[in-house]
Symmetry: D2
């Protein structure tokens, strides 16, 4: 299949490579010449602009961009994707943006006869490289079915979350809960250890009890509890605190728009903002345990 | 084995019955005559006072009381357990109290030649009746080994958490994390549904992603997502919000004593306090989802 | 002076009337025919559109609109104010909106040779009617001086807060602190009374000590402490909780954009959102004391 | 008048000196020999123990101790004040402790025929030296009247807050509101400055508007806004963050006992705990502005 790919950053580049590996024909665009060059070397064709990429009429176009403003920049306006893409092309935006913006762009695409899915991912750069991402997909069922074989070249768990925008909704809801559970796990571990418990024993109790969560049993933030997690290597790698902060911003803003209280989510946003302001935004998001515990290195 | 049992409330009574069923000889004490009568009918001998029960010199004495003040009332003072129990008797307090008080009582017991374990439970009245409680045990390893066969008559998962007081530490750390995850799950479910997602689909996404936790996959608070949980029956039964509020009080007080910040735990305590103050303390703790969502019945 | 006025709602109408009373010539526009009719009866001329009002070339145009989207709707686009206003006209937006939007509109106005001030107010409908509003003004010093006589017809305290957007910054900073102090006062009063103090005596102590604030000494939320405040009349009138919620949304969003933690401000936003979600958004913002105290009517 | 004074720390010593200056006869006790020596040099007589001081039967005995455990240690037990003081002596405890403990000790004193007041102070070591403390007094009106001339030698503002314990209630309610307003002021100042406002201009707006509070107009935490406050000297001197943390602990614990939600108070407690844990407990409590703003020195 001929696929267009826009946005070759830390996530987009390995995703695009997996499409090539799966045998797809690929046209790519990015503002960074070196990012484009790496994909061309792997077998992709470069496009000089979004418009040129669109005019080649690939069957599917995938975008992977940092924020809503970039998505609007790529899709809208005279030089944008929607102004140049042929009717019937399936558009898939894998950026993580707010649901309202996703629905706005998708409504415009549908109006002019394109199909569009929002399909944000989880799994990080590791999952992008390994082709094991989770895709949370919003849009029409038929479009989801059409996209499935393409997405399966990049991910393992592909979930249809309902109509347009719902992929973004699922993503922000999940990541808000993840941030809350991570800080909760950090507090429980700090509290238990400060009161005299061994960290590994405590984690064992939590993981076999009702406190069990992904942050405690798969990604424990306390050093020495697990191997192979960021806590075991000084909180390098993983999913950065600043990225979590961005997702919490999307969640609390969406909650404001919906008139929905999220007191824990808002506190999580503030704690990550404080942690970031103290100079730790580059550390994995499990490093938030250090905000309340100066003894952890 | 001859076992003494003090405190025959909603938890203590079914625990004591399971000891009888396991073939143990039982002496019991409670201030409520009817509670005592029920156990006597099932085969236990009653004692007129804590002191009398102690003087019968059972090999093991178990207590199950509402709060630290009751534990101190039963164990300390001229009429208390410690003043009348024979040296060498193994004392097991299964009440949920603060770790400091547990350590204080246990230190006094050890000083006079008794052995003592703190062994709070989780699993609720259902687990007490079915004999499937989890015991989180603090105290010497040899005492833990001695207590194991007795505790196995009442529970399934018996965990040694380290020295004296650590059973209580594990309990408050776990329940604090549980409260945080439950409110986090409630917020994520409310947010997703208010933004247009189907509750079951959203729970499915969370449970296969990094937001997964016991509160989302085993005890989901959103009505219609799961069968057999309090959310499926108007939040009756289960673990009451006021009991969770009590445990959060223990956790935040212990954190104060340890100089350990627990911002999420403290917010959880305040939200349950608000929910209780609004007249909902008798509802299962998953009903906290109603605090921020007036549309859920 | 010939003044144009756009937006004749609860605030705009009495402000416009005060301009008439001060002897100014007034052209007005509003989507509501009845709002326009009331001003026409008082001596204003109506305009059929924003564009028509602009083409009459008043010396000053004032707008008073509910939110940023309305301000952008009125100022931008082919039918908007900026497209039709003559160069040199002084534009004053008294709406409360986010500083970023205020700066965006003002930058466009300056580019095309207009002068523009953001001048949000405090003082409510009472202050608007009495002409005692406070204006927090952002923009060039010369423009502030030019606007002063006009603003003095509507307000008493006119403060220059610095360059464009700073009026909005001062407004959101002040109202965020107001919300925090109000909830803090409510908590201190609830706590003291629940521990046995007389509300009036407690307020007296706070007001002569370091807890003193506008919410405690001028607008006390506890019933029976002061006369003439919303707490003395069932929390009717005053500054609605939903309006405070809107301002807290502006504050927390601006904080996100600035990367600035505001944990108390975010919690205040969540508590007002919860209070609103429970059906109390129409009550004065001091009614937040009821969120944590079910006994206050 | 012959007055006994127990507790000659940073606060107690200057208070005792002011009693001497006012012409009172003074007997003093403290565990620190050097603290006692300083008072003896100034004209006081030392007592070898609390019991000896009590047996000298001064007309009034004042205590100024760090925490409830010390108050109970001094007043209760075989060697304690209550066991040795003559009936009729007026006891005044100026320590800041929880209201429950204050009421417990005072009830015992009354039972045996003594009169007792709780009379915690505000004003810090500066106010203690200058004799300008505020006393918040709980106890019988007649006892308050009797104590007034004595307290006026040490303070300026002496307030009767109602029956026993109410002095402590007023103190914790005031200081909780103070902490909330201080953090709120810090957030508003940080937010405004990060969005482009001059700190002095912003403080001016707040202080003439509804955001006005003691923390903004008398003790502003932003450097450069005011002279003579801790923010003007690197946050040295003043009222230490760890002392505020202690008072917030008393407030939140009292709120738990009263079943009263104080979400802002609890968050303030957590923020000061975090600030303290990060190594800043010795700084004035207005330094909390640095928690969320790494650029302030």
């Amino acid at each position: 299949m001929h696929i267009g790919f826009i946005g070759l950053g830390n996530m987009g580049a390995p995703m695009a490579l997996n499409l090539l590996k799966a045998g797809h024909q690929l046209s790519v665009f990015d503002l960074s010449a070196s990012s484009v060059a790496a994909l061309v070397e792997a077998g992709a064709r470069s496009a000089a602009s979004v418009a040129e990429l669109a005019r080649r009429t690939p069957e599917v176009i995938i975008s992977m961009l940092p924020a809503a403003q970039h998505v609007k920049g790529v899709y809208l306006g005279d030089a944008g994707l929607l102004a140049h893409v042929a009717p019937g092309v399936l558009l898939i935006d894998s950026s993580t943006i707010d649901p309202m913006s996703a629905r706005e762009v998708s409504a415009l695409a549908l109006t002019q006869g394109n199909r569009m899915l929002d399909a944000p991912v989880s799994g990080g750069t590791g999952g992008a490289a390994a082709g094991t991402l989770t895709f949370m997909v919003g849009g029409a069922a038929a479009d989801f079915d059409a996209a499935l074989p393409v997405l399966q070249a990049m991910g393992r768990n592909i979930v249809h979350c309902g109509p347009s925008g719902n992929g973004q909704v699922a993503k922000v809801a999940n990541n808000m809960l993840l941030a809350i559970s991570m800080i909760g796990t950090a507090e429980a571990m700090n509290l238990g250890v400060s009161l005299g418990m061994d960290a590994k024993v405590l984690a064992g109790v939590l993981n076999s009890s009702s406190g069990r969560c992904w942050s405690s049993d798969t990604y424990n933030p306390y050093p020495g509890v697990m191997e192979g997690v960021p806590a075991a290597r000084g909180y390098s790698g993983g999913f950065g605190s600043n990225l979590m902060l961005k997702d919490l911003g999307l969640a609390t803003t969406a909650a404001q728009q919906a008139g929905q209280p999220v007191p824990m989510g808002a506190l999580a946003q503030q704690l990550y903002q404080t942690f970031s302001r103290q100079g730790n935004g580059h550390l994995d998001f499990s490093a938030i345990i250090k905000l309340c515990n100066g003894e952890i290195e």
